[in-house]
């Protein structure tokens, strides 16, 4: 799973969000390391919707602008969970080999 995808799904795992909300949340989750931009976000959302991992939650009009909220689907949650397990296992293996604290002895 690519990092933007992971960040989008993680952002939506907390609850439905609109596009700008996802962008700012992704920045927070990555501690400012990743700045998600509109082109990347909507290309990813387009794909994730096609794959059934996210869906539209609701639409609002704020200051004459359309705001669409997205939410993660059950399949999206399952995929994110699998990715978390994979990353955790990889990170644990790396920590073990490096003898870092937190890795199993």
């Amino acid at each position: 799973m690519q990092e933007p995808t992971f960040l989008i799904l993680t952002a939506l795992a907390a609850g439905p969000q609109h596009g700008y909300g996802i962008m700012t949340d992704a920045g927070r989750i990555s501690e400012g390391r990743v700045r998600l931009r509109a082109g990347t976000l909507y290309a990813a959302l387009d794909r994730l919707r096609a794959e059934g991992l996210v869906e539209t939650d609701r639409e609002e009009v704020v200051d004459t602008r359309l705001r669409r909220y997205y939410r993660i689907t059950a399949e999206g949650s399952a995929r994110l969970e699998a990715e978390v397990r994979r990353l955790r296992s990889n990170a644990a293996a790396a920590a073990r080999r490096l003898g870092l604290a937190g890795g199993p002895a």
Binding site: G19, Y42, A43
Partner: protein, 372 residues
């Protein structure tokens, strides 16, 4: 006081102007996205982009612009991949069932006609016989492989058609057409060759028919037992051309028989079919006869008028070959300019115009059937 008010008003107007300009620029970039995506997301994306730009910063962000551009490319590539994976692609592009059926018939007939054209162009069967009999230039010598777009493209396309591999056959036909066009100056020395024109139009229309119709599976159903006749006709032409070599006819310049008996040769031979020096009058008549059988087989199909229109495309340059057969040993017996001065426009423009007309007619037909 009024000065401050005016300044505030001025600043507000300036900000609004900048915001509008920024929005215009983003919208211009969003026009690169597919129409469906724009309909669904453009307003939302403009909102997000302006929100991300913030009140304090109204400048056009180049990184955002590059990201939007990359996003448009990604979405278009994904759409293309989805489109290519669609099992109906590209057979769903001809929605008028009558034209789809006509093209299905053409998807069988044209590759077979292309094989006939290739055989006539190369004289390959004669070469095989001459190899066996010791007369003539022999098989695969004298540049038969030099005609490689036809040598390989035509039989490969026909084989794939008979295996009913529509899309792969379409690719083979398209590659044949492209390689004929690209290699013509090197292999034929000129584009002004009616045989070349026939082969180009046969392979191009075959590719179009294979891509835009249900393909050979449907075509063979429509042709009924005549479909078998078409295939038999292909075999017959091969036999006829092979038989041609045993007649005293060779006009290959290097053939010992031709050198020994030039008078006899000129009395019997004509430059026939599809540009090559194939054989004698009888072989030429057989070629024409077999082509007529194929045409008749196609005309027996339920969509005969449309098939006839399609057959006219390669038939136009073929007319000039027939003129050569019936009038003289060249294509230009009727006062037309000789050899490579043959008018290109006369060979290529009418068939191209006919193709445009057919596409226009098919689209009008479709529009009538689908009033939306």
């Amino acid at each position: 006081m009024s000065g401050k008010k005016a300044a505030r008003r001025h600043a507000q107007l300036r900000m609004e102007y900048r915001q509008k300009r920024l929005e215009r620029r983003y919208r211009r970039l969003l026009s690169l996205y597919p129409a469906d995506h724009r309909r669904e997301h453009a307003e939302e994306m403009v909102g997000v982009l302006l929100e991300a730009a913030g009140d304090g910063r109204r400048r056009f962000d180049l990184a955002d612009a590059a990201d939007l551009l990359a996003g448009a490319v990604r979405i278009r590539m994904r759409m293309l991949r989805t489109h290519l994976r669609d099992p109906r692609w590209p057979g769903n592009s001809m929605r008028d069932p009558r034209w789809a059926d006509a093209l299905a018939v053409a998807s069988v007939a044209f590759p077979l006609l292309l094989v006939v054209a290739a055989l006539a162009e190369m004289g390959l069967p004669q070469a095989a016989v001459s190899e066996l009999t010791g007369q003539g230039p022999g098989v695969l010598s004298g540049g038969y492989l030099g005609m490689w777009p036809l040598t390989f493209g035509a039989p490969l396309t026909a084989l794939l058609v008979l295996l009913r591999l529509r899309r792969i056959a379409g690719c083979a036909a398209l590659l044949t057409a492209i390689s004929l066009i690209v290699m013509a100056p090197e292999l034929w020395g000129t584009y002004a060759d009616p045989g070349l024109a026939v082969a180009v139009f046969l392979s191009a229309v075959a590719a179009g028919a294979l891509f835009c119709s249900p393909g050979p599976a449907r075509g063979l159903v429509l042709l009924r037992w005549w479909g078998a006749a078409v295939i038999a006709a292909g075999a017959l032409i091969m036999a006829a051309l092979t038989a041609g070599t045993v007649w005293p006819c060779c006009d290959w310049p290097s053939a010992p028989l031709a050198q020994a008996g030039a008078g006899l040769t000129s009395a019997f031979t004509v430059d026939i079919s599809v540009g090559g020096s194939v054989g004698d009058d009888i072989a030429a008549m057989v070629v024409v006869g077999v082509l007529a059988v194929i045409a008749l087989a196609c005309l027996r199909a339920p969509v005969s008028r449309r098939v006839l229109m399609l057959l006219l495309v390669p038939a136009i340059p073929y007319v000039f070959i027939l003129l050569g057969i019936f009038q003289d040993t060249s294509y230009i017996g009727n006062g037309l300019p000789p050899g490579d001065e043959y008018p290109l426009l006369l060979l290529y423009l009418p068939p191209v115009l006919l193709v445009i007309l057919i596409v226009a007619v098919a689209r009008i037909g479709r529009a009538r059937r689908v009033p939306s």
